[in-house]
Structures are given as structure tokens and as C-alpha cells.
Amino acid sequence: MATQASRAAGRLMISPAVILLLMWMIVPLGMTIYFSFLRYNLLIPGENPFVGLENYSYFFTDPNFWPSLVNTLFLVGGVLLITTVGGVLLALLLDQPMWGQGIVRILVIAPFFVMPTVSALVWKNMFMNPVNGVFAWIANVFGLPAFDFLAHAPLLSIILIVSWQWLPFATLILLTALQSLDSEQLEASEMDGAGPLARFFYIMVPHLSRAATVVILIQTIFLLSVFAEILVTTNGGPGNASTNLTYLVYSQSLLQYDVGLGSAGGIVAVILANIVAIFLMRMIGKNLET
């Protein structure tokens, strides 16, 4: 469609968005890359000499680096496992005919709208607190000793909190996908003699797999940069037991004011995220064709 004139108008109207985003991406990212090659600490005034890959070698040899990388992977993997499996089960449950479906749906998706700082605080104080928390009381009821979640299993606790926040997302998307399944397809397969299990595995699972992939990829992007939950609950501790890559970079640059080192860490995080992003983009790009 379209004539020369409207094409020119089109280019004109798209340019503000493109130019602004380009600046937003290139300027700070360029600066991060540049800083990552400098010895640059805000507490040490003076020259910021070029030091090549020194920051990177410091970053990789930082005793906190490997634990934080492992923590990041556990955090992402744990939350993905819980939310995807839970999301499929919940979606299947919510897709059944029942009374008050709309209300249940609302209850289930609610956690997604709770800001990370609030959910972290609520879980930390009112549920996981070893003295006054609900969990401590439940343990007490069963005659078990109270467990100090954030002190003894900090990473697991954070995984639980984050999973609670993201389970609704997975459920909602999988449920939407499930509901978009043509009911005639299910009826046709029923006519063809497929039982409930066969229908689930041959019709529903293939239909859901695309949505599930989208869920996994998008969550991964967000989960790689979990930050507020850690800051509010454990401050990355005890020690580095719940420090992830994002939190490590934050503490190096804004707590220790080491701009060079923080920048190097930021670039590592960018590279890690890009690996995931490539897969996600391919998925979404394919979808753009239709």
C-alpha cells in the first residue's frame, strides 16, 4: 500500500522514537564500555587511566563473582521451574468449568501487581520472620522449631518470593494460550477417538509449547535482573549467599563507588542477557510474519 507522500510521512513520524531509543541505547552503553577500561573510582579523585582489561580480570577473579553467577543461575532456574510447571497446572485447572471462575482468576493474578519492594517486605516480615511470621506459627502448630528462612536459606527464600510474583504471569499467559485453542480441534480429536490424556499430549501440549517458550524467555530477561527483592530482604547476604550478578554490580558501583569495576560487571551482565535475548527475538520475530 501507500504512495510516496505517505511513505515520507511515515518516515518522519517514526524518527523521534527511533532517534531517542538509539541515543538511550548507544550513549550509556558506550560510556559503560568506555568506563570498563578505566581505573575509575569516585572516592579516588584524579586521573582515570586506561587500564585495558584489568577491570574484567578483577571482576572475574572477585571472590564474589562465581558465587553470584551461580546464585543468578539458581535464582533464574528455580523460579522458571516453579512458575512454568505451576503455571501449566494452574492454567489447566482454571480452564475447567467452575463457579466463580472470574474471581479465582483475579485472586491468582493479583501478586503480579504487587510492587517488588512491597512483596519482599511482606514476605520477609510477616511470613518468614522466625518470631512473628506466619510460617513460624505454622511450624509451631506442628510442633516444629521455627526456621529462619532468610538467614539459613536466603537464596531459596528469594526464589520463593520471586516465584510468587511471577507465577501469575506464567499462569495468565498459558491460560490465554489454552483458551485460544480452537475447541473444534479438541472436538475433532475426540471424534477421532483421542481420550483425555491423548488430547492433552497431542493437542494441548504442542499448542502450549510456544506460549511456554515465550514465558520462559521473557521471565529469564526479567529474572536476570532481580534486584529490589534482594536489596530489601537480605542485602545479598549473609556473606554473598544471595548476591546475584545485578546486585554485585550495584554494590561495586554504587556502594564501593568503583565505576570501572561496576562497568565491567555491567557489560558481563549485558552479554549474558543478550544470549537469552537472541533466542527470544527469534521467537517473536517468527511470530511477526503471521
Binding site: G10, L21, Q96, P97, A110, V118, V134, G266, M281, I284
Partner: protein
């Protein structure tokens, strides 16, 4: 399949689903309940579910002890401001991509998406330094700028998927009928796209309201929106469950209500149209 037992089956499903739903919702319910308790009732063991003295004191105290209203307004201004700014930039762009697609349109869309995948921590240091040098730290303006740019790709994408659903023939008909480009957008496209624009606005207000990386890192006492302000309750002297609950309830209530209205659009926005 035996269809006779449908009612029985429905009853079982209903009980299971409600049980699961209530468990998931419980932390929020508990927060709301606790916000109406006295501090003593709030930490009582065994916990008091409904048998406590209902009070509104906490809501009052939260405002007394801190500038709660200021932070609330910060949240409103920052989330609405960044969303509207993003819409103003995105509507023409989405129009162009949906109705005058060129060979590069797909690439531009994908590239915009890729900027969203850039982890915030990768640009934390330079943004922090730029803001420091330009005096934007702890200002609403600064945060509006950051959140606008953060959400611009999502806004463009959502609008694009909505605009795509408007048949091009209708815009061509308007053109045949003598509408200029601006009239075409004002009289035809915008009214038809109102539902799409509204849900885009809603989703982005939600995302901006809950944003907690930039708000925590770039704001302090003056411009902190609720997502950053609430974090101050994590310090030991802030351990007042009832007040924490009251502050939290006020912080999440508006967005919870908005969110329930935008369930359907949420899926589309968060998956960049990959799942509808």
C-alpha cells in the same frame, strides 16, 4: 467421556481452584487485614484473622510519620508522566509501522525490542553519573525520562499490534473521502484505536508504578515514588507490621484495581504480541 457427572466434577474443580486461588492471594489478604490491626494484634501468636479490634490508626500514622502523600503523588506523576510521554512519541511511530510498513519496519521493531532486553544494570553507572552531573538525581523529571525510555519499546509494540488490527482499507477510504493525514489520524485512527491506546496506557502505568530498580537507585527523600519509599520500612527501626501493612496496602491497592481491569491486555503487552 461421561458427561453425566459434570456437576459433581464442576464442584470438585471449584473447590480446588478456590483453595489454590486463596493460598496465592493470602499474602495480599493478610497484608490488608494486618493494616487494620493494632501493632500488638499484628504480631500476636497465634495470628488473629478477624477477631481483632479494627482500627484505621495505621493509615493515619503512616501519613503522620512520613510524607506518605508526597510519595504517593510522586508515584502518580512519575508513572502517568512517563506513560503519556511514551504514548506521544509512540503513536506516530506505531502508525507509521502499521500502515506504511517499509522494508526495514520489521528490523526496527526487533531492534526496539532488543533495547528492552538490555539489563538495566549495564547502564546503571553512566546513567547515575549523567544524572548526577545534570542535577537529575532525586528528581521526578529524571525518573520520568528513564521510565519513558524503559517503556517506549513496549508502548510502540503494543500500539503496533493494536493498529495492525485496524483494516488499512478504512484509512484509505478516509483518504478517498478527502481526509488529510492529520484528519485521518484524528477522526478515524484515534477513535478506532481508543481501546488499544487505553490498555497500553494502563499496562504502562502499572509497570512504571511498580518499577523498583531505577526508583531505588536514582531517588532519595524528595522524589521517591512508593516503590522506593516502602523500602525504607526494611530498616530495623521500621519493624511495625501494622504500619508497614497500611503503607503497603495503599501502595498496591490502586494498581491492583487497575491491573484487574487490564488482565487481557497484559498478556499481549508483556509478550510483545507473541501471545494474544
Amino acid at each position: 467421556m461421561a458427561r453425566a457427572s459434570t456437576t459433581q466434577r464442576k464442584a470438585v474443580v471449584t473447590v480446588c481452584a478456590w483453595a489454590v486461588g486463596l493460598v496465592i492471594f493470602f499474602p495480599i489478604l493478610w497484608t490488608i487485614l494486618t493494616s487494620f490491626k493494632s501493632e500488638v494484634d499484628a504480631i500476636a501468636i497465634p495470628p488473629k484473622f478477624l477477631n481483632f479490634n479494627w482500627t484505621l490508626d495505621n493509615y493515619h500514622d503512616v501519613q503522620e510519620r512520613s510524607r506518605y502523600f508526597l510519595h504517593f503523588m510522586n508515584s502518580v506523576i512519575i508513572s502517568l508522566g512517563s506513560t503519556i510521554l511514551a504514548l506521544i512519541i509512540a503513536i506516530p511511530a506505531a502508525w507509521s509501522m502499521a500502515f506504511v510498513p517499509g522494508r526495514r519496519t520489521k528490523d526496527i521493531l526487533m531492534w526496539m525490542l532488543s533495547t528492552k532486553m538490555l539489563p538495566a544494570v549495564g547502564v546503571l553507572v553512566p546513567i547515575y553519573l549523567i544524572f548526577r552531573d545534570f542535577g537529575l538525581l532525586d528528581t521526578r523529571t529524571g525518573l520520568i525520562i528513564v521510565l519513558t525510555m524503559m517503556n517506549l519499546p513496549i508502548v510502540v509494540w503494543m500500539l503496533y499490534t493494536y493498529f495492525k488490527e485496524i483494516p488499512g482499507e478504512i484509512l484509505e477510504a478516509a483518504r478517498m473521502d478527502g481526509a488529510t493525514l492529520s484528519k485521518e489520524i484524528i477522526y478515524i485512527l484515534t477513535p478506532m484505536a481508543v481501546p488499544g491506546i487505553a490498555s497500553t496506557l494502563l499496562l504502562n502505568v502499572i509497570l512504571s508504578w511498580n518499577e523498583a530498580f531505577w526508583t531505588l537507585n536514582l531517588t532519595a527523600a524528595n522524589s521517591a515514588p512508593l516503590s522506593a519509599f516502602i523500602a525504607s520500612y526494611s530498616s530495623p527501626e521500621g519493624l511495625f507490621y501494622a504500619k508497614l501493612s497500611a503503607a503497603s496496602t495503599m501502595a498496591i491497592a490502586p494498581i491492583l484495581i487497575l491491573g484487574w481491569f487490564s488482565q487481557k491486555q497484559l498478556v499481549r503487552g508483556l509478550t510483545f504480541g507473541a501471545v494474544k
